[in-house]
Amino acid sequence: MTTFAAKTVGAAIDRLDGPDKVTGAARYAFEQPVAHAAYLYIVQSTIARGHVRAIDATGARALPGVVEVITHENAPRLASTEDPELVVLQSNAVAYHGQIVAAVVAETPEVARHAAALIRVQYHEEPHDVELHAGREGLYQPDPENVGFEPDTHHGDVESALKTAAASIDVTYTTPHEHNNPMEPHATIALWEGDSLTLYDANQGPHAIRGDVATAFGLEPERVRVISPHVGGGFGSKLFTHGHVVLAAMAAKLVARPVKLALTRQQMFALVGYRTPTIQRMRLGTDNDGRLVAIAHDVTVQTSKIEESVETAAVVTRMMYAAPNRRTSHRLARLDVPTPTIMRAPGECPGVYALECAMDEMALACERDPIEFRIRNEPERDPGSGKPFSSRGLVACLREGAQRFGWQPHTAPAKRRDGNWLVGTGVASSTYPTRRRPTTASVRVNTDGTYRVQIDAIDIGTGARTALAQIAADALETPLERVRLDIADSALPRAGGAGGSMGLASWGTAIVEAANALREKLRTEFAGNVPAEGVEAYVEVGRNPLAERYSMHAFGAQFAEVRIDADTHEIRVPRLFGMFAAGRIVNAKTARSQLIGGMVMGLSMALFEETVIDKRFGHFANHDFAEYHIASNADVLDIDAAWIDEDDPYVNSMGAKGIGELGITGTASAIANALYDATGLRLRDLPLRLPFDI
C-alpha cells in the first residue's frame, strides 16, 4: 500500500471553511440563490395505518398565492417504485404516522404553511402496532440476503459454558428511539431545465442522491445534478435519499418552476429516520481466572412495514473479546412506524453500550478491575473472522488513558461522597470498523504549479474539506496553498458519501492514487514538463484487497467521572476523557473536535435523548428541541480526547482510520458504569434516570 511523506498531514490546521462559516458567507442548500422559486410545504398523515379516503383542498386552493396542491390524485407517476422510502404520493396507502399525504406549493412560505393547514384529509383508519417489547409476537430472524449481514452466529456451546462458569451474568439493556437531529433541517431546492434536474440538497453524498432520484424519475443519471456545498450535519439521516427530495423534484416539475423545501424540525421526526429502540440481552460467564468462557448478545430491534432495516447491534461482540463459546442474534419486529435509518455508529453505538456495561458487570462479578478484566480478555485475532487485526490499540488506550485520567483500580463500587455529591468513575472501550469504498478522483497540474483536485466528496462538518486538501498537498509534495479542491457536486468524479466513517479513508486514498498517477504521467509522457494546457490524471480505486486478510477497526477507551446530587438526583458528568487509537490522524485540530463531538453526543444519549412514541396514535410525541433534549452547553463540562501513535500500513494510503463514529461508542457505557460506581445501582435502560429512592 502506498505511503507518503507526511508534512501537512498531522498538523493542527485551521478549518479551511472556517472563515466562511464564521462570517455567514457559507451557503447551505436552502440558501442557494434561485430566481422565481416557489415554496413547498408538506402535509403529514395523522393516522399510523390505513388509507386516505378523501382530500378536500378547496380552502387551500382558494387562498391567494397558492400555486398548486399536490396529492396522490394529481402527483406525477414515478418511473420506479422500487425504493419504498421514495414512493411519495403514488397511492392512498398510509403506512405510518407523519407520512407525506399532500403538499402545497405557494408564492411565500407563509401562504404555503397556511394553505397546508386548510387541507382536510379523511382517512380509513386500521388498527396499528407500534410498540417494541421483548418477547412480543411476530419477532423474526431477518433474511441475510435482504439485510446484507449474517443475523446469527454460533461458536461452541454457550448454554453449557454458562452453566459451568465460575461466575456469570444474564442482564438486559435497552436504548430508546433516538433522532439524529442535525442542526440544519433537511432541505432541497429543485430546478428543472427541460429534462434535466438540478438539486441543491442537504445530504451526505451527492452521487447516491443523484442515482436514487434519477431512478425514481427514470432519467439517465447524467441528467440529474446534486450540489451540496455546505451541509449542517447529518449523523446518518442525510446519507440515504428520503421522500421529501423526490417530492421537491415532483413539485417543481408539476408547477414548472423552481421549488424550495425545508422540513420543519417537527416534520423531521417522522420523515428522515431515527435510531430504532434496542433490547439487548447479554449473557457472560468467566472461569476462576477471570477469563470469559462464554459471551452471548441477543438483540431485538424494529423496522417499518415498508422496509427492512436492521440495527446490527450484536456485530461488535463478534470481534471485541476472546471467549471460546459465543453467540449473537438479531430479531426484528415490523411495525407501523417510519423506517429507522442509520444514526452515528449504527449497530456499534447501542451495541457497544450493552457490551461495555456488561463487561463492567462481569468484571465486578468476578472481582476484577474493569480495565484489567478487559486486558485479560484481549483476543489475539478477531474471534469472529479468525483474521489477524491490521492493528489493535485497545490495550494501549486502556493503559495510557487510565494513567492520564487517574484511574483507581477497583473491584466493587466505590460509592464516594463529596459534600452533597455522590461521585463515581467508569471506563468503557470504544470501537468502530475501518472500511473503504471504491472511489474516483482527478488531479490536474497547471503550468503555474497549482493543482486542482476534483472528487465528489462532502464536508458535513467533519473537516473533510481541510483534511483532503492536506492529503492532496502531501501526495503532490506541494504547499497547501497550491491545492484547489472541488467537492460536493455530483458532476465531479464519483465518490461514496460521508458515512460509516469511510469518507476520508476512501476519498483520501483516491486522491493519493490520482497524485501518483499524475506524477507518473508527467514523467513518462511529458518528461516532467507541464504543457501549456496542463496535465490531468483520473483514477478509479477499488476495494481494499487487504480487507480480506486483516480485520480492521479503530479502538479507544473512555473514562467518565459522574456526580449525582444526593437530593435532586441530577446527574452531571464533570469529566470525560477519551484515548483513541485510529491510525494516522490527518488534522490534529479537526480530529479532536470530531472525537469530542462524538463523545458529546454519547453523553447526550446517556443522559437525555429519548423519543417517546404515543401508542394511541403512533406518533413521536416529543418531536422538537424543547421536548427532545440534546446536550446543551451547560450540560457539557470537561471533555477531552487524545490519541496514541498508531501505524497501520494496511487500511489505506494514509494509514488513517475513520473517526466520525468512534467517539460516540462507549461514552454512554462509561457514564453508566460511573453511575454504578457512585451509587451501587445498575441502571440498564437509557437514558439514565435514577429512581426516587436511592
Binding site: 464564521v22 397556511h114 442542526m183 449542517g232 462538518g461 469530542i596 458529546v600 424543547a626 451547560a634
Partner: protein
C-alpha cells in the same frame, strides 16, 4: 395582510412590504437574502437564528418583522468592522469552535451579546447573588450560551473561544 416595515440591517436601511406573519428570520433570509442567521427549529428552541436587535440578542424566528418597524438589526454578516473580523469570529476559527457551522452564526451573535451583558453587570442563573460585577468564568459562559444548541458538540471549543476574547 401586508404591511410596510423599515429596518436598518447591518447598517443599510431597508424598506419592504411584508406579510404580517413574516418572522424577522424569514424577512432576512427569504426577502433580503441575508442567510447568515440560520433556521434550526423556527420555535425559539435552538438559537441558530440569533441576531442582535437594537443591541440585544433575540431569536429572529420568534420576532415578527412588523413588530420591529424601525429596528436596528445586526447579523453575523454585519459583525466585521472595516473588513476586520470581530475578535470572536477569529477566536471561533482558531479554537475550532465549529464543525458543520450551522449553529455558528447564532453562537457568535449570542456571544457578542454575552460580552456586552457581562460588561453591563447583568447577572445569570449562576452569578453569585449580590455580585456587583460579572466575570465570564467557564461556568458563566456555558450558562449564558445554553440557548444555542450545537448538535456537532463543539461546546468545549466554543467556551474556549469566548473565554479567549472575554476581558
Amino acid at each position: 395582510m401586508d404591511v410596510e416595515v423599515a429596518l436598518h440591517v447591518n447598517g443599510t436601511p431597508q424598506r419592504l412590504t411584508v406579510d404580517t406573519r413574516t418572522s424577522l428570520l424569514d424577512l432576512l433570509r427569504e426577502r433580503l437574502g441575508i442567510t447568515g442567521p440560520k433556521k434550526g427549529c423556527d420555535h425559539g428552541q435552538c438559537g441558530a437564528c440569533t441576531v442582535l436587535l437594537d443591541g440585544r440578542r433575540v431569536n429572529a424566528c420568534l420576532a415578527l418583522a412588523v413588530a420591529h418597524d424601525g429596528g436596528n438589526v445586526i447579523t453575523i454578516e454585519g459583525l466585521a468592522e472595516n473588513g476586520d473580523l470581530h475578535p470572536l469570529q477569529n477566536a471561533f476559527v482558531e479554537a475550532d469552535a465549529l464543525q458543520c457551522g450551522y449553529c455558528t452564526p447564532g453562537q457568535i451573535c449570542s456571544a457578542v451579546a454575552v460580552l456586552d451583558e457581562a460588561a453591563a453587570g447583568v447577572p445569570s442563573y449562576v452569578t453569585p447573588p449580590g455580585a456587583s460585577t460579572v466575570s465570564l468564568s467557564d461556568e458563566e459562559i456555558r450558562e449564558r450560551l445554553s440557548g444555542n444548541l450545537c448538535r456537532c458538540g463543539a461546546y468545549v471549543n466554543i467556551v474556549r473561544a469566548v473565554r479567549s476574547v472575554a476581558p
